[in-house]
């Protein structure tokens, strides 16, 4: 049986998928995962999940974020107003600019 492993590097960080292990049950999966995926990289916590319990939807079957122009939901579209008056608005706009770029390139 295959178990997917998600590692959190430090408290407060997100758990991110880092690999998987073969194991006959949950207990063994946790034992194997901590060695295989937690021994070298900084690790605070691991989540171990049966692979068959993970459902997937990918970009072959789904149009994530849609296909038509959705510029209205990006801060940068509103270029007649200036975000620099508030650090948090400016920061959000910067994050959105990067996310929109990544989505466009994909």
């Amino acid at each position: 049986m295959i178990w997917e492993v998600f590692r959190q590097a430090k408290p407060g960080k997100y758990h991110q998928h880092c690999g998987n292990v073969h194991a006959p049950d949950r207990e063994m999966a946790k034992l194997f995962a901590q060695i295989q995926h937690g021994r070298r990289m900084q690790t605070n916590s691991l989540w171990v999940v049966p692979q068959e319990e993970v459902s997937e939807v990918d970009s072959d079957e789904a149009a994530f974020g849609g296909a038509t122009d959705k510029a209205y939901r990006w801060a940068m579209t509103y270029n007649r107003v200036d975000a620099s008056f508030a650090a948090e608005v400016e920061e959000s706009e910067e994050e959105q600019r990067e996310a929109a770029k990544a989505q466009e390139e994909a």
Binding site: G12, S45, R73, Y78, V81, V89, E91, S92
Partner: protein, 312 residues
């Protein structure tokens, strides 16, 4: 962990569902996040009408996308609150419709015109975003994670709101006057958004000691006034005479006369006893109950799907 240890260890994202936390912390965090989540839902009851009213197709799309984001924030926040193990989402939503759930003062005032769109979408949202940015450093890790996603999206909301204000104030004299009138009504509520002055706040001290909040009401309000008053003035809005707010050149701060604000109304709202509270909560109750049959039907479906496995 006892409460003293919590205070000692409190810091950004210090505690997660794995920590054995005292009830006092879990309850305080639940109260705070539930309030926040409820506010996202109840804000939608105001914002929703702007989709219908929007005067261009693109604006309409922006309005509906914004409401969608707010409901998405409610989803993140109720989940973050559930991780504390005090209440389920269903319990929190039941409390909301029963009039027991608390939410932001500004969302107890029904709206009816497009002139109110920038009040909610620029000033109230701007205030909310200021506050949310500081909550990225809250001690409850799932709450901080929710804030990462919320703050990512909010930049669109605030700029969308400002753009509506810009457009209105750049149009006819009649429109400008109506915006000013609307602003006169909304401004004191917006200033009260950040709650009572620190000295009168019930929950502030504890929330700060355990790291749930990192910035006080007064500091947040100050940062908001410093950023948003110049914006209002830029578009030609005049601050109403009451509450008195004066710029102090020496400290580079706006000094607010707290006693000018209607705190009696604020506390009535805080108890959900305001006339507008009845209207808004009543609308929520009516709408939520009208689709109870769907939730029941899906619960029955879920149970039927589980049954075969349970029999194994």
């Amino acid at each position: 962990m006892d409460i003293e240890e919590v205070k000692e260890r409190a810091g950004p994202r210090a505690f997660s569902p794995k920590d054995d936390l005292p009830e006092e912390y879990r309850k305080a965090a639940t109260r705070m996040i539930q309030f926040h989540a409820n506010s996202e839902v109840m804000g939608g009851y105001l914002d929703k009408q702007f989709t219908r009213q929007a005067p261009s197709l693109d604006r309409k799309l922006a309005c509906t996308a914004k409401v969608q984001d707010e409901i998405g924030h409610a989803q993140l926040l109720y989940r973050a609150a559930e991780t504390l193990g005090v209440k389920t989402r269903e319990e929190m939503l039941d409390e909301l419709e029963a009039g027991e759930g608390k939410f932001l003062n500004c969302f107890h005032y029904p709206v009816d015109s497009w002139y109110e769109a920038p009040m909610i979408d620029f000033f109230v949202d701007g205030g909310a975003m200021r506050r949310q940015a500081t909550l990225k450093a809250t001690s409850w890790e799932p709450y901080a994670h929710a804030m990462d996603k919320v703050c990512f999206e909010e930049g669109f909301h605030v700029k969308h709101g400002e753009d509506i204000l810009r457009e209105l104030m750049g149009s006819s004299r009649a429109n400008q006057e109506k915006v000013q009138k609307t602003f006169d009504v909304w401004w004191p509520r917006i200033v009260q958004f950040f709650g009572p002055p620190n000295k009168d706040s019930k929950h502030n001290d504890f929330a700060q000691q355990v790291g749930l909040k990192t910035v006080s009401n007064d500091e947040l309000r100050q940062a908001f006034l410093n950023a948003y008053i110049p914006k209002a003035e830029k578009y030609g809005l005049e601050l109403p005479e009451v509450p008195k707010i004066e710029y102090d050149e020496r400290s580079e701060r706006y000094e607010l006369e707290y006693d000018d604000l209607d705190w009696e109304e604020f506390w009535t709202i805080a108890k959900n006893d305001f006339q507008g509270s009845d209207e808004q909560i009543g609308s929520r109750r009516k709408r939520h109950e009208a689709v109870a049959w769907v939730r029941e039907s899906m619960d029955a479906w879920e149970t039927s799907q589980r049954a075969p496995q349970a029999a194994d």
